[in-house]
Amino acid sequence: MALISKIILPIFVVVIIFYGVKKKINVYDTFLEGAKEGLVTTFNIFPAVIAMIFAINIFLDSNVLGFVLKIIEPILGGVTIPLEIVPMALLRPVSGTASLAIMNDIFKNFGPDSFIGRLASVLQGCTDTTIYVIALYFGTVKITKIKHALWGGLFADLMGIIAAIILTNLFF
């Protein structure tokens, strides 16, 4: 498993570039063209990143989470869940930028190789912005009766979160 994690990226790179050369496209110019698009995309998300970091910082620094935890502690019993993972899991289906901002905060405070750092990484990687995607996709074709699409998607996300917690424990 550890080996697969190490070779997946180099294999991707070599396959993509080799295939490009085989198809006789100008791989270098194509790379530059794509890289330029990536540059534009990254700058385009900058306002959203500022907005989300601004809001998340206020939320986390107010320590309202500590207050919530004190209330629900008796219910949770012996189970300890890293505190900051809860808002991240809740925000993940709505805004990828918001959960990214929390993951950034977790890396800053605990490091990417801590348990919570790894859990946040797996969590961010294993689900998508379900609510946003459903709103956009159904919105464009003007469908209002979406039946079980939303809670089916959220159910899949919940299973992903549970799997992420178990797998992070198993792998590391």
């Binding site: 570039i17 794509g34 601004f54 159904f138």
Partner: protein, 195 residues
């Protein structure tokens, strides 16, 4: 939706900090946060630029289409109500293939085209068809083989092995996709019985 949550996070944070005495900390974080956002963007930038460059080669060379064609026979089974020669299947494959490679910008146009094609064969225009629901559950489970932004941030914060989270993430996302599709399958079966 995002707007309400954004306002909620700010509102609840500031109001609570008045009562808890954390207002000093919050006051500092309001301005410091902007610098943090710039750091975050600068941390993401190199890896995203590198990866979109490499994926552009996959797109232009036709590798992405080839990958989508590989997925097609498998996806066909998930959409029994869609005729085999329908364009929707091609767009669905492209969408899932692009998502798997972390090509969000290429995935969305293909996904929206798939929805348009599915809407054309929809008898009730305001109601989601089974195929649309299956597609969205599959799409939002978000199978990603190379999570670019996560890798970028892990590199920026000096992770010993940034890629170590790829395998557990792929397994977790597979579990969530299977769970979503299974639930969808049983709901569809039950509805078929009633009608």
């Amino acid at each position: 939706m995002v707007g309400y949550i954004w306002a909620f996070l700010i509102g609840i944070g500031i109001i609570y900090s008045f009562f808890s005495g954390n207002i000093g900390v919050v006051n500092e974080s309001i301005l410091a946060g902007v610098n943090e956002a710039l750091d975050l963007i600068l941390n993401l930038l190199p890896v995203i630029v590198l990866w979109t460059g490499i994926l552009k080669i996959a797109e232009v060379s036709g590798l992405l289409d080839k990958f989508a064609r590989l997925l097609r026979p498998f996806l066909k089974r998930l959409f029994p109500s869609v005729p085999e020669d329908n364009k929707a299947l091609g767009y669905i494959s492209s969408n899932i293939a692009a998502n798997m490679l972390g090509l969000g910008s290429a995935a969305t146009p293909a996904g929206l085209k798939a929805m348009n094609e599915l809407q054309k064969i929809n008898p009730k225009k305001d109601t989601a068809t089974p195929a649309m629901i299956t597609f969205l559950i599959l799409n939002t489970a978000g199978v990603t083989l190379i999570p670019t932004t996560i890798l970028a941030l892990r590199v920026a914060y000096n992770s010993q092995n940034p890629g170590e989270i790829i395998m557990p993430a792929i397994i977790a996302t597979t579990i969530s996709s299977i769970a979503g599709l299974t639930l969808d399958y049983f709901i569809r079966k039950r509805q078929d019985k009633w009608h």
